[in-house]
């Protein structure tokens, strides 16, 4: 598949579904698969740095999956666009909720990383421990996820070029047909 941009380059998106899946799993990996190496590396470094900075400032507590009252973690919807973090978070959620339902002692995997809080009190402790950094960490990881959403779209469909203006071919003024094709000016 070839897409022409303002610089008249040919872009081979290869298998777009596979590229999107790889981009979701690891930021930038879809671009590397397509041979867009520099862009893939830039996206990997940028999204990972932002995500890790968010995790770091909040002690790694802010990325977890919980959609049960009173802890509806809607921010996870944004964070989930980074698949390598979303998958362990969903697994942790299933493991912990399963243990709760069975009345077992809660033993999350991965040393408790990406695990939801045991109860409302533990969540309050997290907020008390990290204060504003809990919210900031949530914001940083959320933004990283949203940026990776753009990157996934870019891997699947090519760059989202905007600001296009179309100049109608003025020589066709006398023509009654509605010819919308013209020269593109960026």
């Amino acid at each position: 598949m070839a897409i022409e941009d303002e610089y008249e380059f040919d872009l081979d998106l290869k298998n777009r579904g596979a590229a999107a899946l790889l981009a979701w799993l690891v930021p930038g990996m879809g671009h590397l698969y397509q041979g867009r190496t520099s862009k893939g590396i830039a996206i990997f470094i940028s999204v990972s740095l932002l995500f890790i900075t968010g995790l770091q400032m909040s002690g790694g507590k802010v990325v977890y999956c919980s959609f049960r009252q009173p802890d509806i973690r809607w921010q996870f919807l944004g964070q989930s666009f980074v698949g390598s973090a979303a998958i362990p978070a969903v697994i942790q959620n299933r493991v912990v909720r399963g243990q709760e339902a069975a009345g077992e002692t809660i033993r999350p995997l991965f040393g408790g990383k990406f695990s939801p809080p045991d109860d409302h009190l533990e969540r309050k402790v997290w907020h008390a421990d990290y204060h504003a950094y809990f919210q900031m960490g949530t914001l940083y990881t959320f933004v990283a996820g949203l940026l990776n959403m753009f990157a996934i779209f870019d891997a699947a469909c090519g760059p989202m070029v905007y600001g296009a203006e179309f100049i109608m071919d003025e020589t066709d003024d006398t023509d009654d047909t509605d010819d919308t094709e013209g020269e593109e000016v960026w």
Binding site: D5, Y7, I43, I52, L147, D154, G158
Partner: protein, 78 residues
């Protein structure tokens, strides 16, 4: 693994080790990464990506500074 990755970041020491105005350094990765990825997902040529990233980064800084000033003014009356 996560701890190891933390050590690779610029702020491996943690926010509690940063005080006062040093904490504003957290703005740097946010602005750079956001503007770079935003530009990279809209263009393919690096010259245009960098130009777009600078434009978006400048806009983000102005917006953040504006919100900071508004929050500062509001805090003066509370």
């Amino acid at each position: 693994m996560i701890s190891f990755l933390f050590q690779l970041t610029l702020f491996g020491a943690g926010p509690e080790a940063m005080s006062g105005w040093e904490q504003i350094l957290y703005l740097v990765p946010l602005v750079i990464c956001t503007s770079l990825v935003y530009g990279a997902t809209r263009h393919e040529d690096w010259r245009v990506i960098i130009a777009e990233a600078i434009k978006i980064g400048r806009w983000l800084l102005v917006l953040t500074a504006g919100v900071f000033v508004v929050a500062l003014i509001v805090s003066l009356f509370n």
